[in-house]
Amino acid sequence: GSAPTGSGDASSDAAEFDGTLVVGFDQEFPPYGYVGDDGEFTGFDLDLAAAVCERKGWTFTPEPIDWDAKDALLNSGQITCIWNGFTIEGREKDYAFTDAYMNNSNVVVVAADSDIKTLADLAGKSVVVQTDSGAQNVLEDEEQQAELAATFASLETIADYNTAFMALEQGTYDAIAVDEPVATFNVTGKEDTFRVLDERLNSEHFGVGFALGNEALRDEVQATLQELVADGTVEATVAKYADQGVSMDNWCLPEA
Amino acid sequence: MTRATMRDIPTPDVSFASAAGLPAVYVKGACKAYGSKEVLHDVSLTIDRGEVVSLIGPSGAGKSTMLRCLTLLDTFDSGTLAYGALQVTSHDERGRAIYDKRTSHEARMRFGIVFQSFNLFPHYTVMQNVCDAPVVVQGRAVDEVEAEARALLARLDLTEHADKVPCELSGGQQQRVAICRALAMRPQVIYFDEATSALDPKLTADMHRLIRELAADGMAVGIVTHEMGFAREASDRICFLLDGRIVEQGTPDEVMVSPRDPRVRAFLAMTED
């Protein structure tokens, strides 16, 4: 192999693409990537990735990763891309992203019996986000909701959403700021425990992230994805995950 | 000095006897086995106040085991043990000896022992080895205990070693510290396992004098030794233990000069060899 002298030189990696698309994803992130009841990796994004591979004749390898190691893995070529409800905003300069394929928004979840009705009601309350999540970025970004976050009693972080929702229920926190699909996934069936505020924190977009310098492969994937829109594969996949909060309304990648 | 043969010692009756007439140590019919090996077999023994009794006999006869049981480090399987009016053992219906905690602790306040391997506390200085138990266990005043300890150390020629730890001492020095440690508890009975094994003749002579003085003060002394000369000089009475039985008992002269048991005679003949 050749030594990388910097990310700019990584274009050589693209030349080495050997027909195996290794998709890095966080397996604790339903509905985009998670472990299905049959024990197989499943999820909306993984299904899309599999469909792309099928169309291109590539081998599809889903690779669950520790989120802490994602950059090191991507840059060293251990994974080809990150495809996992991966928010573009704020990361534009760090990855070679496809065009956005999905609109997303961050929402606030509170206990069903909470007196919090609007974002303004969050003043003086404790709010929790997952570390390095889109919601955290939004609340810490001066150009987005940092002003709102300043009114909170505290903005805390936690390792995983399951714990966050359990802790919300027992009163440790007053609210969780979270991706809409994740909120839907966790609130579905527990509507008498949790409630999603109508007001949203922001709107953002998901894309597939490649290592900088790997633009050629990115373009190929994007083009294929657009073909999948055209032939209806995307719509079918959306339908499959409809009850988990995925909707065609949010799809934003046009046909070629 | 009172001396008594086994036959005419009454079982101490704790309920109303005054302690005055009772032997300091009283053992009757003691048995002890390790697994199937019977180490002590129906051993009876008394030591009166002011009396020095030596236990002699061949290696493996059970002398150390006897001392371990007397000092409650081990238990007799059956038999009676009493310190003065304090009856240490009771018995279940099958005649097995039962020990209870409270009584055992009381008994421990009455005796001390100098171990064959000394067993000094290695992390304590000589002074701490001697003073700790009297202060902590008996709750005596530190000043008083230290003064007494200093006197004891001086007596056994250890003054200059008071602040050393045991690993800096020679064998004889360690043994003497162990003696001081036992005496600092002011016991009524003191036992020695191999009393003078690490002591030179001068110190042995000192020990002899010391034991005599202790006895004169009314202490009962029990000695296990292989040095026949020492046993003979120092004791009022000698018990000869053989294969877990006391086969001969009497004054040093009776046992050493004219033993009745032929095995004792054979054993002692070796000494002159």
Binding site: A159, T163 | G112, F115, V136
Partner: protein, 212 residues
């Protein structure tokens, strides 16, 4: 970046210190229970040690954190997080320390117990004055293992949302897309451990005045 890590470090140290404060002495009590001649107590303590060592600290923390509410319906306020961390850590580390004490206690020569017993020390007195000081000398290196592990285990507190240094490091790694914050976190951990090692080594040297 460095200041942010040092900020989280305060919490790491707090968890570390409180855990040691609780578990080092409690470990002695548990070790004594483990060696007790009273069978049911010994059995119970064995079970406790087994469960504590046999299941992940993270899950024990979850249990302490969630059980009051999910089992008893008690609403625990936001302050309970930290309390839960400390309880779980102390209860967990006590088990580990107890086993180390036990290895030390059982390696003491019989003669020491016998000498103490004959001198009339109560079991507790003998233990605290004669046995324990000598045990400490013997187990210091093994204690070092647990203490140093504890330094790093503080990062588990984040599972229930108590953010400490490593969490901060993790967030920085994500936002900076570089492993450097991890390297700094590791350096801070190491520096902490060096201080601990220094202390342990001094203690070892001070206890070197005797041998047996």
């Amino acid at each position: 970046m460095f200041e942010m890590l040092v900020g989280g470090y305060g919490m790491s140290l707090k968890i570390f210190a409180l855990t040691l404060l609780g578990s080092v002495p409690l470990g002695i009590v548990v070790a004594m229970g483990r060696l007790s001649s009273f069978r049911p107590l010994r059995w119970l303590v064995s079970l406790y040690i087994s469960v504590m060592r046999g299941t992940p600290l993270m899950l024990q923390m979850f249990a302490v954190f969630f059980i009051p509410y999910y089992a008893f319906g008690i609403k625990t306020g936001p302050g309970y997080k930290f309390v839960a961390v400390i309880i779980a850590f102390v209860v967990n580390y006590t088990a580990y320390f107890a086993e180390i004490y036990r290895s030390g206690i059982q390696s003491m020569p019989h003669g020491q117990y016998e000498a103490a017993q004959v001198l009339g020390y109560s079991p507790a007195q003998a233990f605290f004055r004669i046995i324990l000081p000598q045990v400490f000398k013997r187990i210091l290196p093994a204690m070092g293992n647990e203490v140093v592990t504890l330094v790093k285990d503080t990062s588990l507190a984040f599972s229930i949302g108590v953010a400490e240094m490593f969490t901060t490091g993790r967030a920085l790694v994500a936002s900076q897309r570089s492993m450097v914050p991890f390297a700094i976190a590791a350096a801070i951990y190491w520096a902490t451990c060096l201080v601990i090692e220094f202390g342990l080594r001094r203690a070892e040297r001070r206890l070197g005045y005797y041998h047996d």
